[in-house]
Each structure stands twice: as C-alpha cells, then as structure tokens.
Amino acid sequence: MTTTVTTHRPRPPAQPATLRAKRLPRYAAPAIAVAALLVAAGVVYGLGIGGPVLVVVLGALCYLAGLFTAANAVEGRRAARNRTWSALIHSAFVLAVLPLASVVWTLVSKGVERLDGNFFGTSMNNIGARDANGGAYHAIIGTLEQVGIATLITVPLGVLCAIYIVEYGRGRFAFAIRFFVDVMTGIPSIVTGLFVLAFWVLIVSPWFNDGRPGFSGFAAALALSVLMLPTVVRSTEEMLRLVPAPLREGAYALGVPKWKTILRVVLPTALPGIVTGIMLAIARAAGETAPVLLVAGGGAAINFNPFENNQSSLALFVYQQAGEASKYSPARAWTAALTLVALVLVLTIAAKLLARRNRLGR
C-alpha cells in the first residue's frame, strides 16, 4: 500500500502550495460598480439610446463582466466564478423585489380609498354606474361559505387519501394514485370550473332545479374542492412521510393495531404540518376567481344560501368591478382586492404560526 503512493503522472495540483491567496481589495467591488455605471452612462447618453433605467441595466451587466475579469485575473477562476454567481444571485433578489414591492404598494395605497363601513356593510344591489357607494358584503359572505364547504369536503377526503398512499398503498394502484395526485396539482383552476359547470351546473343540478342550470355557491365550492384536494393530499402525504419510522415501529412493537397507530401516533405527530397544508390550500382557494366566475353565477345581491341561486365571491367581485365602466368601480375593485389579500394573508400567517408553535410544543 505504502509503496504506490509517492509518484504518479503530473496533473493539476489539488493541493495549494500555500494557504495564502491573493485577494481583490475590499474597495474593488464598489470601484468596479462605479466604473461600470459610468461606462454605461457614457454609452447610453453618448449614443442617445435611452434613459436612466437603461444605464442601470447596462451598468449591472458591465459590473458582472468587470467583476469576473478582475477576480479571474487576481484570485483565479474558482474564486471569480464564486464572486460572479454570488453577484448574480444578489441581483436576482433586487430585480424581483421591485415589481413585487410595487404590487404591494399599489394594493395598499389604492385599497384604503374605500375601506369604510359602507363597503363591508352593503352589497352591490341597486348600485348603478353613477353611485359612489356599494360594497362587497355579499361577496365576502359568498367567499366564506364557498371556501368553508370546500374545506369540509376536501379535508377528510384528502387526509384519508394521503393515509392510503403512505400507510396502506402498495404496488401499481397506490403508485397510480400518487402519480395522479401530482398530475392533479397541475390542473388549471378554470378547467375545474368547466368540469363543475358541465357536471353539476348543466347536467346534475337541473334534475332538482326544474330543468334550469343551477348556478350556486355550492357549485363553486365543488370546483374549489377539486382544486384544494391535491394540495391537501400532497402536504399531508409529505408530513406523514416525515414521521420517523421508529415512532410507528415503537407502537407496532407494543401491539397497537395499525389504524390506531396511524390515528393516535402518526397523525398527531404530523398534525401541525397537515393543518398548515390545509390552511394554505384554503388560502389559495379563497383567491380563485375563474371557477367561481363559471359556476357561481355572480350576482349583486346578498344570498346566504349557498345551495340556491347566484352567489358572488370576493375574487369574482374584484374581477367584475375591474371590468365595469363606472368611475367608482376601480376603487371598489382595489378595496375588495385588499380585503381578499388580507383574508388570504391572515389565513397563511395563522397557518405558519400554528405550525411553528406546535412544533416547539412537541
């Protein structure tokens, strides 16, 4: 063993001769940035091809090129790559923050305009194009009822399905279910809307609706539950898989039957994660417009009964108001959007906090 060690063909040294490495000085990066901006400004204004935005964009590109060249010359290729990728990753972050911050700012600044009691206390019934008031009360009712029903349908179904996949499923059938749950996550919301339109509104509901298509909040809830199902199944499945096997085996070893182990040991352990997944699914469903547009029928009046007659929802309300010609409708649309986002965010934040607290409590 020892004799073969010493010599072999020459190759690039894996071992550095010294630990010391030449470094770009600290001021190098800012200096390159300033130089890049100056060059970019010179090019842009010199040729008259654009304004400050272009200077920044071109400057960023020059900076990356300059940084790589300088680092490559001084520190070597590996360090240069490291620096350049690091700069790229940081700039991706800056690039994304701008539009997202703009969305948030617009939402808040435009949304507070109609944030008053009237907005939350009235519907759009008998509100004409020249009326400045009118509100989203009916839409809020619609959203809450539709999402609530969808949750009642989805949660038991989804959790049981996940339990089947993780705990019982064997062979091809389980694989097929797992596979199609994944596929189902990719089904567009509008398609689920069309499905419920075809299946429930146009074919099933006319049986008990005097032959007329029955647009209703319940139909919207059906569509939303089709949307929520894969999310719930996937998150539950993932959480169940994270439950350590020794925990299960410990229970089995004590003679606890499998179903009891699942209900008493596995589910409680995975519960925070499952609840988080469910709440996130709810949040997503609450924000869906397309399926509601197709099967709930909309409507301007308050309707508490999800099983009969048209219902609106907040998301649908935003879309409808966005399409109105009235000069008052944009304000209503933005305020409804703000309300919707607030609702969704409260759900999301609550979900995450719950998960965090439970995790610590364990």
Binding site: Y252, V256, T348
Partner: protein
C-alpha cells in the same frame, strides 16, 4: 452524539430527506409509550403473525379504516376521469356544430349561426405567454431562493422567505389588476424602445403597444415568481447539512458547494417547482383576461396589443355564451386540460425517474 450544539451531529445524511424542522422530535420515544394504550390489543394486520396468536378479525376497525382510505384514494382517479368524461360530453355537440376547422380557424364566433370557432391562436397564445413567463421567472426565482437559503444572514433569510411565501398566496386577480392599471405604462415605453432598436428581431414588431403578450407574460412572470421561489426555497432548505459540510470540507467555495451538494439534491424538487409554475402559467385565467388584448391571430410580435389564451378567452367570453358557446368554451378547456396533462405527466415522469435513482440509494 455531538457534545456541542453543532448541526452535523443531527443532520440527515445521504438519501433520506429530512427537513430541518422535522427531525426526530425530542421525546419521540416517550410519545409512543404515552399513546400506545393497551399493549394486548390483538394485532390486526399480521405484523407479528405466528401460531397461537389471536386471529385477525375479518371485519375489524382495521379493515374498515383501510377501506375508507382506499375509497378516498380511488376518488382521485375517479375525479380525473370524470373531468375528462364530462368535458368531452359537453364539448362534442359544440364541436359537431362547428362549421370551421377547430384546430386552425383563427376566430371565435360560437354564438353565431352557423357557429365558427378555432383553438389554434388560443393554444398558441397560451403556450407562448407561459413559456415567456417562465423564461423570465425561473432564473430569478432560483436566484432568490439561493439568496434566501445560502447567502442572506439567517434572520433576513427566514423573514424574507416568509414574505415570499405570503406573496405566493396573493390571488392572481390582484396581479392582473396591477398589471392592467400600472405596469401597462412602463411596458408601453419598453415596447417603444425595443421596437426602435431591435425591430430587426421579428418578435419586436410594430405597435400599437400596451395590452400585449409582453405585458401579459411579465405579469404572469411576476405572479409565478413567488410560487417558484417559495417551493424551491423549501427544496434548498432540505439539503442535508451533512452534505453541504462535506462539500465545504473538500475545499469548495460557496458556489461550488451549491453546485455539488445543493443543486443536484434539489433537482427533482426544482423541476417540480418549475412545472407547477408552468401549470399555473398555462392555466392562469384572470391575470391574462385583464391584461391581454384578446385577439384571435397567431403572431410572434410580442409587443403589439393583442394575444389571447385559452383560459383568458373562457373568462372573457363566458358571460355572452349560449349553449353552443358554452360547449365551445368547454371544448377549448378540454384542450387546455390536455396540454396541462401532457406537461404534467411528462414532468412527473422525469421526477419519478430521478427520484427512483436517489431513493434506491437510500
């Protein structure tokens, strides 16, 4: 175990996916003991099978529970099949009534007599906007995810990660509204500039500018950005610390560590995230219904007002649709369903193949 609170002592190693937050919960074994109830409960599933033990009951709780989960699992398959069946049932009559070629006709007049409508331009617009959106969003999203997980100080990373998760929950109608009311100005300027200097590239054709494919796909990109970021961030966080440390201990720079340990490990997850983003982009309805110009022509000019997608068209034309009109929209939805199904199945097949490689390793 480790005598100091260092991470590697508890980190998962190769193959097994362990989220940092869901490692072996402390006191897990105690939990088993707590919940395991009566140790003499007969074993229902033959785990400890052998002579002289109580026989498994034929209709015990175990069977019932198992059957329940099986039914829930089967429901997924039933729903997917039902979506296809009911969409086809409603689409066929409209397709029969169509007097033009469904695949190639560029126009949408299903309410006329005779009805004329074609999917070509819509399908084209759907794929084009989705691909453009992903082209912009994916690199940026991966960059942000890496920034949040491996570059930002931990506190900032967690905080901003939370914000990104919240943005991912913002309903698409909000992005649509923002795009229509606020992004349209800058996009018009950008379009003018691009056309002035790059009109020799065919996609940067003449105006009028504004509600163009460019606007639609950028809004879409901004919308899917938080979704892809949030998913891939989670994927990157799951990389076992032990593997990251292994790479660092071999003398890897930070970027090299990401490339050797983090990115390969997360690849299936990244593909899944991108595909989910693609699914969202292909099926996105409201954001595009609000930002695209709704024309029915196949054109690569991304600057000119116009463009349309299957989903946006359904939202825009649903209100005015008669019976054939609805059938025609359902037929277009069927095509969308098929497209997303193909994309999804392909993606899942890729992921499953890769996952088998890594899982067989575990």
């Amino acid at each position: 175990m480790g005598e100091t609170p260092h991470r590697s002592a508890h980190a998962g190693t190769g193959g097994t996916r362990v989220t940092s937050g869901h490692e072996w919960p402390a006191g897990a074994s105690a939990r088993v003991a707590e919940t395991s109830g009566n140790p003499r409960t007969p074993i229902g599933n033959g785990l400890g099978g052998g002579g002289g033990l109580p026989k498994a009951r034929a209709f015990g709780a175990e069977r019932a529970f198992r059957g329940l989960t099986l039914a829930a699992g089967a429901a997924v398959l039933v729903i997917i099949a039902a979506i296809a069946v009911f969409l086809i049932a409603k689409a066929v009559p409209a397709l029969r009534a169509n007097t033009e070629d469904f695949w190639t006709f560029e126009g949408w007049f299903p309410n006329d007599n005779p009805p004329k409508f074609g999917i070509g331009a819509l399908a084209f617009g759907t794929v084009l906007t989705a691909l453009l959106a992903l082209l912009v969003a994916v690199p940026v999203a991966l960059g942000i995810a890496l920034y949040l997980t491996h570059y930002a100080p931990r506190r900032i990373g967690t905080g901003l990660g939370f914000v990104i998760d919240l943005l991912a929950a913002v309903p698409s109608v909000v992005f649509g509204l923002w795009g229509r009311d606020y992004l349209v100005g800058p996009i018009t300027d950008l379009s003018t500039w691009l056309n002035k200097y790059f009109s020799w590239i065919p996609i940067f054709g003449d105006g009028p500018y504004g509600s163009s494919i460019l606007l639609g796909s950028l809004v879409l990109a901004i919308m899917v950005l938080p979704i892809i970021t949030s998913l891939s961030r989670e994927v990157f966080l799951q990389t076992p610390t032990a593997n990251e440390e292994a790479a660092l201990a071999l003398g890897a720079t930070r970027w090299e560590m990401l490339r050797t340990a983090v990115l390969p490990y997360g690849r299936p997850g990244i593909i899944a995230a991108v595909m989910l983003g693609l699914g969202r982009a292909l099926g996105e309805t409201i954001a595009l219904a609000l930002t695209l110009g709704s024309t029915y022509a196949i054109s690569f000019n991304v600057l000119q007002s116009g463009g349309n997608t299957i989903a946006a068209n359904i939202a825009n034309r649903f209100a005015e649709a008669n019976d054939t009109g609805r059938g025609a929209l359902i037929a277009s939805g069927l095509v969308l369903f098929a497209i997303t199904l193909i994309v999804n199945i392909t993606a899942r097949a890729i992921i499953y193949r890769r996952r088998e490689f890594t899982e067989s390793a575990a």
